[in-house]
C-alpha cells in the first residue's frame, strides 16, 4: 500500500500511519475493521477551505490524510462510522446557519455516504449499531466514545484523531500501541468510593474528580453500590476524559476486564489510592461550576454525550404540563436514529409543544451554536459545562436533568448540591 499499488490516497494514508507510528514509537500496525471518525466540513474555516481548494476530496486529503496534494478518495476499506457533525441540517436557521451551509453539509454527507461511511452522526456510535466485541481492535475517535469502547465494551482502541481515523478507513490499519496491548490496560490508580454514587449527575461529578487526578492513567473504582446504566457510564467517561485524558477505567465487579480487583490491576500495584467522599464531590461540583455567577439563564442544553431514548423520555416526563419560559432556549441533542424513534414515540412533539427542540447530528460545542443573546446557560453534562463556556465565552451551570428542566421553565438557576 505504501508503494502506491492501491492508488495515491491509500499511499498517502500509509505514509501518515508510518509517520504517526514512528512518532509514537510503535513497532508495527495492527489490522482493524472498526473505525469511527469525522470527514465533514461545516466549520467556517473548513467551508472556506472546501470552496477554495476543490471540494470534499481536498478536505479529506488535507484534514484526514495530512496530504497537501489533493488525491481522489476511494471507498473505505473497512467498516467506518461517522461521528457527530458540525450542524443539524433540520435546525440550521435556529443554530444561526444559512441555507448555503446546509447545502455544503448535504454535499459532505453525500460524499461520506458515497465512500461507504455510515452516517451515524453521533458521539455515541455504541448507541446506534456500532458495538464492538471484547478484544476487537478498533480505531475510534471521540474521547467519550473511546473510553466507553475500552472500559465498558472491552474492545481496544486509542483516542485516534481525525487524520489517523481517516487513514485507517482507507487501509484497515492503525498503530499497535497503547490500549491495543494487554500491559497498558491494567489499572494504575485505586479509587475507593465512600459515598453512594447513583444519579447520572453524580457519575459525572465522580468522573470529573477522578480524571483531574489520574489524568491519562487507568483508574480502578471500588465500593460501587448501584450498578450504573448506559447513560451514567456515558456521562462518567465523558467527564473523566474532559478533566483528564482517561481512556480506560475499571469498575470492579462490573466492567469486562475487572471481575475482581486482582484482574483489574493484573501484575501492577496501585500507584495511588484516591478516596471519594462528600468533600471530593463538593470540590468537583465547584470546579464544574467555575464559570457560573448569574442565576438568570437564557439557554438549557441537554444531550452531551448524545442522549439515549431513556433520557429523552425522562425529559418528556419532567416537561409534562409545563412550558419553556419565553426568551429561554431548550435544545436537546441525540443521534439521528434515536431522533426517529423519539418522533415515532411522540416525544419530539411533547418537547416541541413545551417550547423546546429535539436536535440531532451535532451539539452546541461542535456547532458553536447557542440561542442568540445567551449569556448564561445550564447543562446536565459535566463535559459540556467544561467546554462550552470556554468555547463561547458564556457562563455555564451544571446540575441534574430535573434542575435543568426547571431552569428552562422558570428562566432561573436554582440548582444546588443536595
Amino acid at each position: 500500500m505504501l508503494e502506491g499499488r492501491d492508488g495515491p490516497a491509500v499511499q498517502r494514508a500509509m505514509d501518515l500511519l508510518r509517520r504517526y507510528g514512528e512518532a509514537l514509537g510503535a513497532e508495527r500496525l495492527v489490522d482493524t475493521n472498526n473505525v469511527t471518525g469525522t470527514i465533514g466540513a461545516t466549520t467556517p474555516f473548513m467551508r472556506d477551505f472546501a470552496s477554495q481548494r476543490g471540494g470534499m476530496d481536498a478536505i479529506f486529503s488535507e484534514f484526514n490524510l495530512d496530504s497537501p496534494e489533493v488525491v481522489k478518495v476511494p471507498k473505505v476499506k473497512v467498516f467506518s462510522s461517522h461521528l457527530q457533525q458540525g450542524i443539524d441540517p433540520l435546525h440550521a436557521e435556529r443554530q444561526g446557519l444559512s441555507q448555503e451551509v446546509v447545502q455544503l453539509f448535504r454535499k459532505g454527507e453525500a460524499f461520506s455516504a458515497g465512500l461507504g461511511v455510515q452516517l451515524m452522526n453521533t458521539c455515541t456510535p455504541y448507541q446506534v449499531g456500532n458495538i464492538p466485541v471484547k478484544g476487537e481492535h478498533c480505531a475510534w475517535m471521540e474521547s467519550s466514545a473511546v473510553i466507553y469502547c475500552n472500559s465498558v465494551l472491552g474492545a481496544r482502541t486509542n483516542a485516534e484523531g481525525r487524520e489517523s481515523s481517516g487513514a485507517a478507513m482507507l487501509t484497515g490499519k492503525i498503530p499497535y500501541w497503547g490500549y491495543h496491548l494487554d500491559e497498558n490496560r491494567y489499572g494504575t490508580h485505586l479509587v475507593e468510593l465512600e459515598i453512594d454514587v447513583e444519579s447520572t449527575a453524580d457519575w459525572g461529578l465522580l468522573g470529573y474528580y477522578v480524571g483531574e487526578i489520574v489524568q491519562d492513567r487507568n483508574p480502578v473504582l471500588t465500593g460501587i453500590k448501584h450498578v450504573p446504566n448506559l447513560p451514567r457510564l456515558k456521562h462518567f467517561g465523558a467527564a473523566a476524559s474532559s478533566s483528564g485524558g482517561v481512556e480506560m477505567y475499571h469498575l470492579v465487579g462490573i466492567t469486562p476486564e475487572a471481575r475482581t480487583l486482582e484482574e483489574a490491576f493484573g501484575p501492577r500495584k496501585p500507584e495511588l489510592t484516591i478516596r471519594y467522599g462528600a468533600a471530593e464531590r463538593r470540590l468537583a461540583y465547584e470546579r464544574v461550576n467555575a464559570s457560573a455567577r448569574d442565576s438568570e439563564i437564557q439557554f438549557v442544553m441537554l444531550g452531551c454525550p448524545h442522549y439515549t431514548i431513556e433520557q429523552i423520555w425522562e425529559v418528556c416526563r419532567l416537561l409534562e404540563g409545563k412550558r419553556v419560559r419565553e426568551g429561554v432556549g431548550l435544545w436537546i441533542f441525540t443521534p439521528r436514529a434515536i431522533k426517529q424513534l423519539a418522533d415515532q414515540n411522540g416525544y419530539t412533539k411533547i418537547i416541541e409543544d413545551a417550547g423546546g427542540f429535539l436536535m440531532s447530528d451535532t451539539c452546541s460545542a461542535m456547532a458553536r451554536a447557542v440561542p442568540k443573546g445567551t449569556k448564561v446557560a445550564a447543562f446536565d453534562s459535566v463535559k459540556q459545562s467544561h467546554y462550552l463556556p470556554a468555547i463561547m465565552g458564556i457562563q455555564g451551570w451544571f446540575g441534574s436533568t430535573a434542575e435543568c428542566v426547571e431552569a428552562a421553565v422558570t428562566g432561573r438557576w436554582r440548582g444546588d448540591l443536595e
Binding site: F49, E142, R162, E163
Partner: protein
C-alpha cells in the same frame, strides 16, 4: 554561563529556534485552544489568554478531546502553531498532533525540560539530532 543541552527522542524531525512558553499543565486541543490565534482558552488553565504562536511550547503533554490533532492541524494552516514541541508524556493525541503540525518535536529527555526551561528562555531545537540548546532568559538580558 554556557547554554544548557538536553537530549531526547525524535517525534517529528526538523530544526527550529525561538522563545520558550512553558506550562506544567497539560493542554487540551479541541475546546482548549483557539486555532486561529494559538491562544489557550481553557477556563482554569494557567496559560489562559496566552498564545503559543511562534513559540517553542514546553509542556507535560496533551489531554482532553480527540480533536487535539485537528485543532493543532488548523493552527498550522492559520499560521498560529508553535515552532516546536518539547513534552514528556507520549499519547496518541500529541503524536498525531505533532505529525500533522509538521513542527520539530522531541520527548523522552535525559532531564525534565520543565525543570530546566522557563518561559522566555531562548531554545534551539534540532529534532533530527535529538538535541535542545537552552539559553537562559537572564543571560539573554545581560547580553542585550
Amino acid at each position: 554561563m554556557k547554554p544548557i543541552f538536553l537530549r531526547g527522542r525524535k517525534v517529528v524531525g526538523g530544526v527550529a529556534e525561538g522563545e520558550a512558553l512553558v506550562t506544567r499543565e497539560r493542554i487540551s486541543g479541541w475546546g482548549g485552544i483557539d486555532p486561529r490565534t494559538g491562544t489557550i482558552i481553557e477556563t482554569r488553565h494557567e496559560l489562559k489568554g496566552q498564545s503559543f504562536k511562534g513559540k517553542v511550547l514546553v509542556f507535560p503533554g496533551a489531554k482532553g478531546s480527540s480533536g487535539w490533532s485537528a485543532q493543532f492541524h488548523l493552527a498550522r494552516l492559520t499560521g498560529a502553531a508553535p515552532l516546536a514541541l518539547l513534552f514528556n508524556e507520549m499519547t496518541t493525541k500529541i503524536a498525531l498532533g505533532a505529525v500533522v503540525m509538521h513542527a520539530p518535536a522531541l520527548t523522552e529527555f535525559d532531564r525534565d525540560p520543565l525543570e530546566v526551561i522557563e518561559t522566555g528562555d531562548w531554545v534551539k531545537v534540532d529534532a533530527d539530532r535529538g538535541v535542545v540548546e537552552i539559553t537562559k532568559k537572564a543571560q539573554r538580558r545581560n547580553a542585550a
